[in-house]
């Protein structure tokens, strides 16, 4: 077990725990955007940065999502400097995605009120903040790796190879669920699932329940579930309500 203090409050946690989790156990708020318990930490949004001082006296700022706890660590989750940086970071994000409700809410929470940078055309990024939660979810949870981050630097985007229809996408919608800014929109109508990503749109056929007749899951997802579970496709002919 490791003993540390967060904002003056002592806590004892298992070795290997990240500072972010230790803080959350104490109900201390640290803003995050690219962090989710279901996928590995990434360290891209930098909002979870905190001020730390090690036992040996070394002081610096680190991303709490990726910094493992240490004995005698003194963590300050919201110094003046940290707060200042968080406001600058959310401002940079708002310039990129000016119409995002989630970003606007967070800006208010962080006390960022001015508009420091000119707004970009919302159609450029479609609220995508390149947090890579969707790509990590597709790779780690669904294990299909149908989407990835392409290009480099300011041209970086989230998408499918060649921005054309993906053979690997099973239309499960995990990416849309995990996206913190609703940049991926899923609409199910008339037996079709439409997935709108920032730079490409795909359509998938939905399967019909053999009993109640409602369209419940994409056919591709059912095929994937059959393959993973070893169950025959017929097992999934009935929707989960009717089974």
């Amino acid at each position: 077990m490791v003993k540390l203090t967060v904002d003056g409050r002592p806590i004892e946690v298992k070795e290997g725990t990240m500072v972010l989790d230790a803080a959350r156990r104490l109900n201390i708020y640290i803003p995050t955007l690219c962090n989710h318990e279901s996928v590995s930490p990434y360290g891209a949004c930098r909002l979870c940065m905190v001020d730390i001082t090690t036992k040996s006296g070394r002081n610096r700022m680190v991303t709490s999502c990726l910094y493992p706890v240490e004995d005698g660590l003194v963590v300050k989750t919201s110094t003046e400097k940290v707060a200042e940086h968080r406001r600058m970071l959310i401002q940079l994000l708002l310039a990129r995605c000016p119409e995002s409700k989630e970003l606007k809410d967070m800006a208010v929470k962080l006390g960022a009120h001015d508009l420091l940078f000119p707004k970009e055309d919302p159609k450029t990024h479609h609220n995508c903040i390149l947090c890579a939660l969707c790509t990590r979810a597709c790779a780690e949870i669904v294990q299909q790796s149908a989407i990835s981050l392409v290009n480099r630097g300011v041209d970086r985007e989230m998408g499918i190879p060649f921005f054309d229809n993906s053979d690997l996408c099973i239309a499960c919608g995990t990416c849309a669920q995990i996206c913190p800014t609703n940049a991926i929109i899923i609409t199910d109508t008339k037996g079709k699932r439409r997935i709108e990503m920032p730079h490409n749109t795909m359509e998938f056929e939905l399967a019909k329940c053999s009993v109640c007749g409602r369209y419940w899951l994409p056919k591709k997802q059912i095929a994937w579930m059959a393959k993973k579970s070893g169950q025959p496709i017929e097992f999934f002919a009935k929707c989960n309500n009717c089974r």
Binding site: S145, A146, S148, V150, F162, D167, L168
Partner: protein, 155 residues
């Protein structure tokens, strides 16, 4: 333009030269581009298939590194160095002149596919800046007036 069969066998050879190792992906894509002129969709897809890696990995790597071109390249590759030493000696004016002469910007090829233009961030010949490299041939101490004659010699 290579057909699918040539692509498949060419890539097979490249992969075996690189130990069929997916860790050598960057080298493999470079060899593929050298052999086929650029990285076509078919080439990238074939590489990912033969290496048994997700297409997303091959595509992300192909679009991350500046050395790769996913569009056909011109007959002659022009690289203008924009390293600091070259910049200090006026490399941006050289680039402007090349752009004006050929009517293309870095990353583009002209319509007839005679020339492809790219910038490069230092080739290590800094004492001789500004430098223009055409098809691997280095021309140092470039002057604005020397650009047109140099390009004309390749037309």
């Amino acid at each position: 333009m290579a057909n699918q069969r040539q692509l498949k066998s060419g890539i097979k050879r490249i992969l075996s030269r690189n130990g069929n190792d997916s860790a050598m992906l960057v080298s493999i894509l470079q060899d593929t581009q050298s052999e086929f002129g650029y990285l076509s969709r078919e080439a990238i897809t074939e590489v990912s298939k033969q290496l048994s890696i997700p297409l997303t990995q091959a595509y992300s790597v192909a679009t991350f590194f500046k050395a790769f071109s996913l569009i056909p390249k011109g007959k002659h590759q022009i690289h203008v160095c924009l390293g600091t030493a070259c910049h200090v000696r006026g490399a941006d004016k050289i680039l402007d002149t090349v752009e004006r002469e050929l009517g293309i910007k870095p990353g583009e090829s002209d319509k007839e596919l005679n020339f492809s233009l790219d910038t490069v961030n230092c080739v290590g010949a800094c004492a001789l800046g500004p430098i223009v490299i055409i098809d691997g041939k280095y021309s140092g101490e470039m002057k604005i007036e020397a650009v047109k004659p140099l390009l004309d010699s390749y037309k």
